[in-house]
């Protein structure tokens, strides 16, 4: 799966979590723009993990602040 495909699938997953209808761009941050609280983060991460059959550990999550970084991380985790 290339980056564009991964990006599109993550956009589909984030939709129900994007309650404020924030415009999705690589720079959009989960804490600041999407205003995800810790419970939403857990559910969102679980949805991504299930979709791509990967693990995004808490350690890795700490490095992911915006949408673009998430797409990059998921691309990398699929290759590993």
């Amino acid at each position: 799966m290339d980056r564009a495909q991964t990006d599109a699938r993550i956009r589909g997953i984030i939709e129900p979590f994007n309650k404020k209808g924030i415009e999705i761009s690589d720079g959009a941050t989960f804490a600041g723009d999407f205003e995800f609280d810790s419970l939403t983060v857990m559910d969102f991460v679980a949805a991504i993990e299930d979709e791509f059959d990967i693990i995004i550990s808490m350690n890795q999550q700490a490095e992911i602040e915006n949408f673009g970084q998430l797409v990059d991380a998921v691309c990398k985790l699929q290759r590993d």
Partner: protein
């Protein structure tokens, strides 16, 4: 700060909490986090603000704090060994009493090894951070206690949480862990915020099938859950599958301290490599003496256990009948969590109960799951049936006054 306004104040990160707290106190309620017990009369009664108060938020499940044998053992140890050890367990801090309490724990759990820490917090911190290292994976319930999370943070393992008590979510994550990596599954017997128990039998079977070691924190079950009071794993018949049981002396045992018991053949090496065990002073002799006496008495506590369960069922049914929203459908432990609509009304209800002469715990985020405010009640085997009826009446009056129930 005023003389150096351009420098960032390290405390500014606490501003939202400071403001929330000020707003709460400005509404006129007493500060729920600064209560002082002026005198403790028994495991279930104390003087607070000059008023005799029933204690329903102490975790003193088995009421051992005033047991005459326990107190006598503590006094004798004070006389014979002094007030403190002034040393680490691995240097000058291991006295006869420390060995004796570890022997009592081995007997209580029927396990080969026992290691005593200065607090339960340090037991989780030490064991988890030491056994799961770089490249290993810790799979844990999202509602785990702060000491478990801090143990994860202190170690170098990859940390993978799953939704509370969700067996399938746990299994999926275990199956995704790379081949050959070390795996530790961390669970609790009783989750202390809602008072619910874990489906340990199913979860441990899956953990074992996926090659993981299993650590279970039984802090809130020791002494009264399971045929011998060994906890939820014993109750569900899977204690022999648990690699590490973590527990505390600060609940049913009635003093302070923490421990890990295990059958792992190499367990004793922990005493040299576990930093929260090595780099702190050991428990005072009086504390380990009271703990050992209490643990041995808990082995024969069947009648007290039965009465505690009766108390838990009575309170759960009584509060439910009044219309309170509770953390569990049926009582699963000695903790009954009463869910409050928000922090303001939770604090008002807490204060109204205190005026009635009842102490419960006010629990709020981030300690609670899903941002809830809870009035957490923990029952004691020494609460009489009459006290429990009195407590239900207090909840009724306070709940109506604050407008939580009709």
């Amino acid at each position: 700060m005023s003389e150096n306004a351009s420098q960032p104040d390290l405390f500014s990160k606490f501003d939202p909490l400071i403001q929330q707290r000020e707003a709460l106190l400005a509404s006129g309620v007493q500060d729920p986090f600064s209560l002082v017990m002026e005198k403790v009369l028994s495991p279930t009664r104390a003087l607070c603000n000059g008023r005799e108060t029933i204690l329903l938020g102490t975790y003193n499940y088995m009421g051992m704090t005033f047991d005459p044998d326990v107190i006598a053992a503590g006094k004798q140890a004070l006389d014979e060994f002094g007030s403190g050890t002034t040393g680490s367990r691995v240097l000058n801090g291991t006295y006869a009493g420390h060995r004796a309490v570890e022997e009592a724990l081995k007997e209580f759990y029927g396990m080969d090894h026992a290691m005593v820490f200065s607090t339960g917090y340090q037991a989780n911190l030490g064991i988890i951070s030491t056994i799961a290292g770089k490249g290993d994976y810790i799979v844990l319930d999202i509602d785990s206690h702060a000491s478990i999370w801090d143990g994860c943070k202190m170690g170098d393992a990859e940390v993978v949480p799953f939704r509370h008590n969700d067996i399938e979510a746990m299994e999926k994550r275990l199956k995704r862990i790379p081949e050959g990596a070390g795996k530790l599954v961390v669970l609790e017997g009783v989750y202390s915020m809602m008072g619910d128990i874990a489906p340990l039998k199913e979860m441990i079977a899956i953990a074992k099938a996926n090659g993981a070691m299993v650590l279970v924190d039984e802090a809130h079950s020791m002494g009264f859950i399971g045929p011998n009071g060994r906890g939820v794993a014993e109750d569900q018949g899977v204690l022999d599958q648990v690699d590490f049981v973590i527990g505390t002396f600060s609940k049913s045992v009635g003093t302070v301290g923490g421990f890990c018991v295990s059958n792992h053949p190499k367990f004793e090496i922990m005493r040299l490599v576990c930093r929260p065990y090595v780099f702190t002073a050991s428990l005072p002799p009086s504390v380990v003496a009271t703990a050992a006496t209490s643990i041995r008495k808990l082995m024969h506590g069947a009648n007290k256990r039965a009465h505690l369960w009766e108390n838990s069922r009575t309170l759960h049914a009584g509060l439910r009948a009044l219309g309170f929203q509770l953390g569990t459908e049926v009582p699963q432990s000695a903790i009954i969590a009463v869910i409050m609509p928000d922090l303001e009304r939770g604090a008002a209800m807490w204060e109204a109960l205190l005026h009635e002469g009842l102490y419960v715990n006010l629990a709020r985020p981030p300690a609670t799951p899903a941002g809830m405010t809870l009035l957490r009640c923990s029952l004691c085997a020494e609460h009489s049936a009459e006290q429990v009826r009195t407590i239900i009446g207090m909840f009724e009056r306070a709940g109506k006054a604050v407008g939580i129930i009709l």
